[in-house]
């Protein structure tokens, strides 16, 4: 393990301190609790938006705290959900009287910790609502299982629900639009290399020099299967088809595209992928309203990428287009 860190046990604290040191005009840190809060929170009468999860996905989540996106983010240990007391503290920090929406990714740990936090908040008289993001089409969707994971599509939930809250939407309205995003967003990823959790010191899986992992999660979890590496076009075609067929996306649809790097993938390669995605969408007469290429939902230093498509209606288009000003996501 070769990393630019100090003690593994201290890496989350070090990171958060470095983050607030970089962006004091956007965010502040609640000491001890590892919560990143929007500088001017709570905003009176505005719905608060709290998300969080394990660390190691930067700029998710702390990087998206700011105007038009999250009001607070709870950082758990690397790849470990934050705890209920942390989340409760974040809820209290952002509660401006209009209630707080919790944006949770569909992992057992996250679900349970946020649920406990919501129960505690309720006991203290703060109104909360929750949405659960589950955009990863690599995982089979079934009532009898945990269901799908939340991955890069979560960023669109943050953006759009954040815009709605910023525009003065009620808790119900913000929750509703978040759920609309969740219903219309699909993603799938692949990895060239695994990643190493600092405290573990070694990767959770290994890949040969000519192997890639398809459909892996953003926590170093192995994926659906392993195969020989192919060209970027072939790999992209495979991922994009899975994503397209799932909703399904159809001719005439308007979409937003996110080509997300997992941590160690150069932008160059993400653009190569986007070329192919744009071509495939063009062929299917699906029109691209906006494209985001970059690292949004990473998995430490994993090399690989995911493709996300979000089907837009007029409301989603407008909210996606709204300005956002956060350290990790800026849009005029």
């Amino acid at each position: 393990m070769k990393k630019l860190i100090n003690l593994p046990e201290q890496v989350v604290e070090d990171m958060l301190e470095g983050m607030v040191a970089a962006y004091p005009e956007y965010i502040r840190l609640v000491p001890e609790l590892n919560i990143v809060v929007r500088k001017d929170a709570p905003m009176k009468g505005q719905v608060g938006l709290v998300s969080g999860g394990g660390s190691g996905h930067e700029p998710t989540h702390g990087g998206f705290v700011g105007k038009g996106m999250l009001t607070a983010a709870c950082a758990g240990d690397v790849f470990t959900s934050p705890t209920p007391d942390q989340i409760l503290a974040a809820i209290k920090e952002v509660d401006g009287g209009a209630g707080v929406l919790l944006v949770v990714k569909n992992y057992t740990g996250d679900i349970m910790n946020f649920e406990m936090a919501a129960e505690l908040a309720e006991a203290e008289g703060i109104e909360t609502a929750s949405v659960v993001v589950n955009d990863d089409v690599a995982v089979e969707d079934s009532l009898y299982t945990q269901g799908r994971r939340g991955i890069a599509g979560t960023v669109f939930v943050h953006k759009i629900a954040g815009a709605k809250a910023q525009a003065g939407g009620t808790l119900d309205e913000v929750k509703e639009v978040a759920e609309k995003v969740i219903a219309n967003v699909r993603s799938m990823g692949m990895a060239l290399t695994p990643c190493i959790v600092p405290a573990a010191g070694k990767p959770t899986f290994t890949l040969a020099e000519d192997e890639i992992e398809i459909g892996m999660g953003i926590h170093g979890e192995p994926g659906t299967h392993r195969e020989k590496i192919r060209t970027a076009d072939e790999i992209t075609e495979h991922l994009t088809k899975k994503v397209l067929e799932d909703l399904p996306f159809a001719e005439g649809d308007e979409v937003a595209v996110m080509i997300n790097g997992l941590g160690a993938t150069p932008l160059m390669e993400l653009f190569v992928i986007n070329k192919k995605v744009a071509k495939m969408l063009g062929e299917r007469k699906i029109s691209v309203v906006r494209t985001y290429v970059g690292e949004y939902m990473t998995s430490l230093e994993m090399a690989g990428a995911s493709v996300t498509l979000l089907k837009l209606d007029q409301e989603l288009k407008e909210l996606l287009a709204a300005p956002a000003d956060t350290p990790g996501f800026k849009q005029f």
Binding site: D77, P82, T108, M112, G220, E221
Partner: protein, 212 residues
């Protein structure tokens, strides 16, 4: 059995030590079908418990258990934090302000713990989780006690059942937790949470056995 609060505290410390000793092993198990942190998470939680327990010298059993639960909830994170945290919380709530625990309390406490975990995690037997070790253990304990066995003996039966439960998880596909994302690829691997449950029960049993 007549377990004093101070003995209960020692027993919990022994459990914590076993978790600490098995940190790498549990993490290794989690790396096969999860995200390689179960041992790390649990060890962190029990490290906090270890620091916390000395402040509870004068507390009753329920308070000790609830405090352990709260500590786990607020330090572990992930899936195991709320699950084991809820287990201790519920056991503590059930047992209440006792100064000495009897066999029946062991039964009550473990049943409450199991119920708490199932409620929190919505897992059923066969989902490849903690429940696959804990539920058979709780049943075996109850049966043994009903058959007139001592607490130590009954816990021995529970440990055996939990061990079988861990073994059983190797042959099933996960339907809850991170391992469920793997589908069939989760086959052949034992569940980390079921394993930590087994380790905890075994430690409790050994503690009781040492003392008798």
């Amino acid at each position: 059995m007549g377990l004093t609060v101070s003995e209960l505290t020692d027993m919990i410390q022994a459990v914590g030590k076993v978790i600490e000793d098995n940190k790498a092993f549990l993490t290794e198990l989690d790396s096969a079908i999860g995200d390689a942190d179960h041992g790390i998470n649990m060890a962190k939680g029990f490290h906090a418990v270890k620091e916390k327990l000395p402040t509870l010298a004068d507390a009753d059993a329920g308070t000790v258990l609830k405090t352990v639960g709260m500590t786990l909830v607020s330090t572990v994170g992930g899936a195991s934090g709320p699950l084991y945290g809820t287990a201790f919380l519920r056991a503590g709530m059930k047992i209440g302000n006792k100064e000495e625990l009897l066999a029946v309390d062991l039964d009550l406490g473990l049943v409450a713990a199991l119920e708490g975990i199932k409620q929190r995690g919505r897992a059923e037997p066969g989902d490849k989780t903690i429940v696959d070790a804990l539920q058979p253990a709780v049943m075996a304990l109850k049966e043994s006690l009903n058959a007139g066995k001592t607490a130590t003996e009954a816990l021995g039966a529970a440990v055996t059942a939990a061990e079988d439960g861990v073994e059983y998880t190797k042959g099933i596909i996960a339907r809850k937790g991170r391992a469920s994302y793997l589908g069939e690829r989760s086959l052949g691997h034992q569940d980390p949470g079921a394993t930590s449950t087994y380790l905890m029960l075994r430690t409790m049993q050994e503690f009781l056995a040492r003392r008798t």
